[in-house]
């Protein structure tokens, strides 16, 4: 399954938007945090997990999704949120902790919820799995269209909750896809030191469902694998498991010195940056002209600038609003 020309443009646009967004966040994140790096300070406080390098996974999967489909994301959610169509203004404002944010500032960067496009996050490893499986169950019981996708990191597969949810999805034959973003690291712990099998596609056998491994962080190959899995889910044929090799170009969180990485690993990763690679491929295959790509890039830049400006210009929440929205209105 290959993406159409329009889809390829869409994928490139969302990858670039995501990267520009992360670059902007990274820069602003350090405001107020130099010379002494204190996470509590600056316009964007708290932990910050960037997704630079992992954009192909988000776009390759979300190219097949509609707003009605459900996505659960992780502590590293920005690329997935952007590809799923989460409102960028409100998302930026949430990350700035503003009243105009998705959750009025209550959630923050690890808790982005956009009900318009059925997007949710959890900062607890693997805990997006249950809710995604539950959404798939709900669609099936209600006879409503839509599939559910849970994105997790490769570190998440060693959680009991991950296994329980996979099995539940399989035994009930639910319209669910688990996408594992394998960036080889869970903070400082290498995949090889944490997971007993080299690749997690083989785990699908434990649930009697299809499992696929996509190498090389290639958006086209991801598109292909995700297309098959999502079509299968839409057809009522049950869940699938996809593991994608991807690269974390940033630290685990901002401020991570990454002393645990082998010497030179990062240089090798930057050389494989998927965005220039996709750009080159679009040009080479004649799917986009230099002018078209430049237009996509400047539009993405403008979109990100507008979102950041919106976030910066928005008002802080009223402090006492912290006490509201605990229970449903």
């Amino acid at each position: 399954m290959a993406p159409t020309r329009d889809e390829q443009h869409w994928m490139y646009r969302n990858m670039v938007t995501s990267r520009r967004f992360e670059n902007a966040i990274a820069k602003i994140y350090f405001e107020g945090k130099t010379p002494a790096f204190n996470m509590a300070n600056g316009p964007i406080p708290g932990e910050m997990h960037l997704s630079d390098g992992q954009e192909p996974v988000a776009v390759g999967v979300c190219a097949h999704l509609n707003p009605e489909d459900v996505v659960t994301a992780t502590h590293r959610p920005h690329h997935q949120a952007i590809a799923k169509g989460v409102d960028l203004d409100k998302m930026a404002a949430e990350i700035f902790g503003k009243a105009s944010g998705l959750s009025g500032g209550r959630g923050g960067h690890m808790h982005l919820f956009d009900t318009d496009v059925n997007f949710a996050c959890s900062g607890i490893i693997a805990q997006g799995m249950g809710p995604a499986v539950g959404a798939a169950l709900s669609r099936k019981m209600q006879g409503k269209p839509g599939v559910a996708v849970a994105f997790v990191g490769e570190g998440a597969v060693n959680q009991g909750g991950w296994h329980e949810a996979m099995n539940l999805a399989a035994v009930w034959n639910l319209p669910f896809v688990c996408v594992i973003e394998d960036n080889a690291w869970g903070i400082s712990v290498a995949k090889s030191a944490a997971t007993a099998v080299a690749t997690n596609d083989v785990r699908a056998a434990a649930y009697g469902i299809p499992g696929t491994r996509v190498e090389g962080n290639d958006p086209f190959a991801i598109y292909d694998a995700a297309g098959t899995a999502i079509a299968r889910a839409r057809n009522g044929d049950g869940p699938s498991l996809i593991e994608v090799e991807t690269y974390r170009l940033a630290g685990h969180f901002m401020g991570d010195a990454e002393g645990y990485r082998p010497e030179g690993e990062k240089d090798g990763l930057f050389a494989k940056d998927p965005i220039p690679a996709m750009r080159a491929r679009l040009l080479k295959e004649g799917t986009a002209s230099e002018e078209e790509l430049a237009a996509i890039e400047s539009a993405a830049e403008a979109r990100v600038d507008a979102a950041i400006t919106f976030a910066r210009d928005s008002a802080d929440p009223a402090p006492e609003d912290a006490l509201t929205a605990v229970f449903a209105a």
């Binding site: 204190n38 708290g46 932990e47 693997a126 400082s188 712990v189 006490l323």
Partner: protein, 342 residues
């Protein structure tokens, strides 16, 4: 300012030092957790241990808290003395069965025939906008459930002595360290937590509170970071002519009710400061231990300065609005409608 012969350590270093000293003495002590080996712990409390003791005894784990905390229970029952780290206390949700149904109950279920000598270290606290799954204290949640000792140091001296005591204890100890006291620059750090720590090994008794400031008019009881807020409030109150006594609980289980009661009997007034959620928790327990014992010692209704019963919000203005701070403690005194101090 460090004086001559002073050896100021952060809580992180004090914890690592105590662990290393016990590991040298007892080959049964070993450490398991996420990012505790090469990284030295996200909060620095296992730094240097991998170099000295190697990967057999300093074990990075998969993100499998149920498995490795459950494994610690099994190893503890089998003659080892494991230390496990739950990186943020908020993550207890994925592994609580191993903690409260196994770790906390197996001594009892065995009629006292088993020992479960293990330490569960876990970080607590917010104040740096990390959102509602990375900022909780949950002191009351752990202290509520019988069968585990629970400690929470406010400074590096207690941190080292409590860690040594915990490592020598034959019962499970939950060791709750506050991120804001840890001495990791990137979280900002309460300077009062970094104090002189003797190099030689020593213990701080589990189950004994400390009067860290003497006073006559009001007792402020707290733990962890709250002790520093209480001390700051006490200073402000001093400027108003109010003499505040500050009690550092040090341990939640066992709870040193005697020290609390003796202090309130002296001052007649009680303010409890707790960064954990207000209802059904530590603050209620402290007040109950005074009032059920002798309500006649109280000259005013007790007050609590605790986190309101809402998930912890991300936005700085909202989180700071909810958190205890010295001003709120002073306001609690003002609201007590207290008699003029003697």
């Amino acid at each position: 300012m460090t004086k001559p012969n002073e050896r100021k350590l952060t809580i992180a270093r004090a914890m690592a030092e105590a662990t290393a000293q016990e590991m040298r003495l007892d080959p049964g002590v070993f450490v398991m957790g996420e990012d505790i080996a090469a990284l030295g712990g996200v909060y620095g409390n296992t730094r240097g241990l991998l170099d000295e003791f190697g990967p057999e005894r300093i074990r990075d784990t998969p993100i499998s808290e149920t498995a490795f905390i459950g494994a610690a229970v099994g190893a503890a029952q089998d003659g080892m003395r494991p230390v496990v780290e739950l990186m943020f206390v908020d993550f207890f949700g994925v592994c609580f069965d191993a903690i409260y149904n196994l770790m906390a109950k197996n001594i009892y279920f065995s009629g006292g025939n088993l020992k479960v000598p293990m330490v569960l270290m876990t970080s607590t606290g917010g104040g740096y906008s990390d959102g509602g799954q990375h900022s909780q204290c949950l002191y009351g949640t752990f202290a509520h459930l019988p069968g585990m000792k629970v400690v929470a140091p406010s400074n590096a001296y207690d941190a080292k002595g409590l860690m040594t005591a915990a490592l020598r204890d034959d019962s499970p100890v939950v060791y709750m360290y506050h991120k804001g006291l840890q001495g990791m620059g990137w979280l900002g750090t309460e300077p009062g937590a970094t104090v002189h720590v003797p190099e030689e090994s020593y213990t701080v008794e589990i189950g004994k509170a400390k009067v860290v400031r003497e006073g006559r008019d009001v007792t402020i009881v707290s733990l962890g970071l709250g002790v520093h807020n209480a001390l700051k409030a006490a200073k402000t109150l001093e400027g108003k002519g109010v003499s505040a006594e500050v009690v550092d609980l040090v341990s939640l289980v066992p709870l040193d009710r005697e020290t609390i009661r003796a202090s309130v009997a002296k001052t007649g007034r009680l303010i409890v400061v707790d960064e954990d959620y207000q209802s059904y928790g530590v603050s209620g327990e402290i007040i109950a231990c005074v009032t059920e014992h002798d309500i006649s010692v109280l000259k005013a209704a007790p007050k609590r300065v605790a986190f309101p019963d809402v998930p912890i919000p991300y936005a700085r203005v909202m989180e700071q609005y909810c958190l205890p701070n010295p001003d709120k403690i002073v306001a609690a005194w003002d609201e007590m409608g207290a008699m003029q101090p003697a």
